[in-house]
Symmetry: C2
Subunit: 311 residues, 2 copies
């Protein structure tokens, strides 16, 4: 949660805390799971989340994947029997901070339409990739959902009675709509013409996270709330020393980021993936994480229910 809040990804930040507390209180998520890590092959491991929150076991998976990659060149660690793990980028970044290129994907319960469809096939199925960059540059950090927007953006539009953009949600007939009240499902990134690309990526992530691991496909579990889920998360680490000096690979990542930034000008800010998030992090590390009044009230209500002091 702090990774997300510090990087400005508020959809996955501290606002999730009351939700997680509710999941733990109702028993939907195990509060004291027995997390186990098993090496399967020279380059593969599995982490059993035992029905707890996905965060701790996925950090364990990052450690395992990086250790395997150090020896074998590439390492895969799959988290099984998991639930919500927050922002995928947190784990990819942990891999980069340990010195590795790191890919993280995860499926979720379904509330995203397929391309040209009227019923849910996919979750927001994120993909994250981080890579260490040479000194002076923050790591490359991609963290994106394969839907155009997150579900809570749609909920926010309902609350504020704002129109949605034209290519982010469909109604119950599968037609694109800007009305948040009639919008039933999110649309894949790419919209009415190129949404088969977003849907294809979501399918790939579903197959990696669930079909490969024996966990549930997106549409086999509820996407709107954290109900009875069996999610898989995939972490793949690659040793940047595989093809030469890892410092040189880090310099090349930094060269890519600098080249992107150098295309800024004429009022346009161009950056590599992660650039806006790193600017958020600098600002929030200096000035703190803004907590809107409604969230503060929600956090205080939660704290009161747990006998904890208010914010």
């Amino acid at each position: 949660m702090l990774h997300a809040s510090r990087h400005g990804v508020d959809s996955h930040g501290v606002r999730l805390l009351p939700f997680y507390v509710d999941c733990l209180k109702t028993g939907l998520v195990k509060g004291t799971p027995n997390i186990t890590v098993s090496k399967l092959r020279a380059a593969a491991a599995q982490v059993d989340a035992d029905g707890g929150l996905g965060h701790a076991p996925t950090y364990r998976a990052v450690q395992a994947a990086c250790a395997l990659a150090k020896e074998a060149g590439i390492g895969l660690a799959a988290v099984l029997h998991s639930t919500h793990f927050g922002a995928a980028g947190a784990y990819a970044l942990a891999g980069a901070e340990a010195g590795f290129h790191c890919l993280v994907v995860c499926n979720s319960g379904a509330f995203v339409a397929p391309f040209d469809g009227a019923r849910a096939l996919h979750g927001t199925n994120p993909i994250a990739y981080a890579a260490p960059a040479a000194a002076g540059s923050d790591p490359f950090l991609l963290d994106m959902a394969t839907s155009a927007i997150p579900w809570n953006r749609l909920l926010l539009a309902r609350t504020l009675k704002h129109d949605l953009p034209p290519d982010v949600a469909v109604d119950r007939h599968g037609d694109y709509t800007t009305n948040p009240e009639t919008a039933q499902l999110l649309a894949p990134v790419g919209g009415p013409r190129y949404g088969y690309k977003g849907a294809g990526l979501a399918g790939m992530i579903s197959i990696m996270s669930a079909a490969l691991t024996g966990m549930r496909l997106d549409f086999e579990q509820d996407g709107a709330a954290l109900g009875d889920t069996e999610l898989g998360h995939i972490v793949i680490a690659i040793d940047p020393g595989l093809f030469g000096d890892p410092a040189q690979a880090a310099e090349r990542v930094a060269a890519y980021i600098r080249a992107a930034q150098a295309l800024s000008g004429d009022g346009r800010v161009v950056d590599a993936a992660g650039g806006p998030q790193w600017r958020h992090k600098a600002e929030r590390d200096a000035h703190g994480i803004p907590i809107p009044a409604a969230l503060r009230a929600e956090l205080n209500q939660m704290a009161g229910g747990l006998g904890l002091p208010a914010l």
Copy 2:
């Protein structure tokens, strides 16, 4: 080329043959490269393409990655010093036909704008993923560029004097345009609002293919023609027997594909990634690959120049 033509991906099909012949005749691409495969670690190999076409070395990389995955659970093979390799999906499918989940990415010379930029940062940087499905179902097969459309679609619009869709190309100021004459660069998938996702994926692929391997970044080589290139291709294979019975994993891939297809109705055809391509393949295997008159003339001109009989 035949993979692409049979699957209906005509942009990467037999129309590329005269282009490849020209590259070989001019010496831009080596006709008799010394392709070598070296195992680097327990789960990693590299294939040196020695400046030849990317096709043969990438099939060798698929074999190497699958052999490594069989032992280590996951295997990575990188093709170095390569040039054009055609359709990424051909190699991912070869991995699936060998019984593995297979991810393939590749960068290319730059002619795609970054998000909100006016100069080229990325190539069309494709991502492909294929996975074996249980008997009765074709494999899952995603093969997509991270630009909205391919470059030759823009060239075709110029030839036919057709407008472009509104969110696929930008002019020299970086503004979206539907005029194919003023369009200078392709746009990342996601368009003016969500193109940071397509650009982020393109950046990830650039970093995997080039920064990791020591090859050239997209903007360090010419994208419009096959000039002096040093491309990297990444093949990652995963053993579907890692977490249980591989037949069960294949059944789950088929279950995903069936679930997608079951959402068809009310005049909508929903399918998993690859569905339209498998329908093309069935039709073309039965009735042949259509060769438009202009392409036939071009192929015959090429054949004449080589002393070969006409089509």
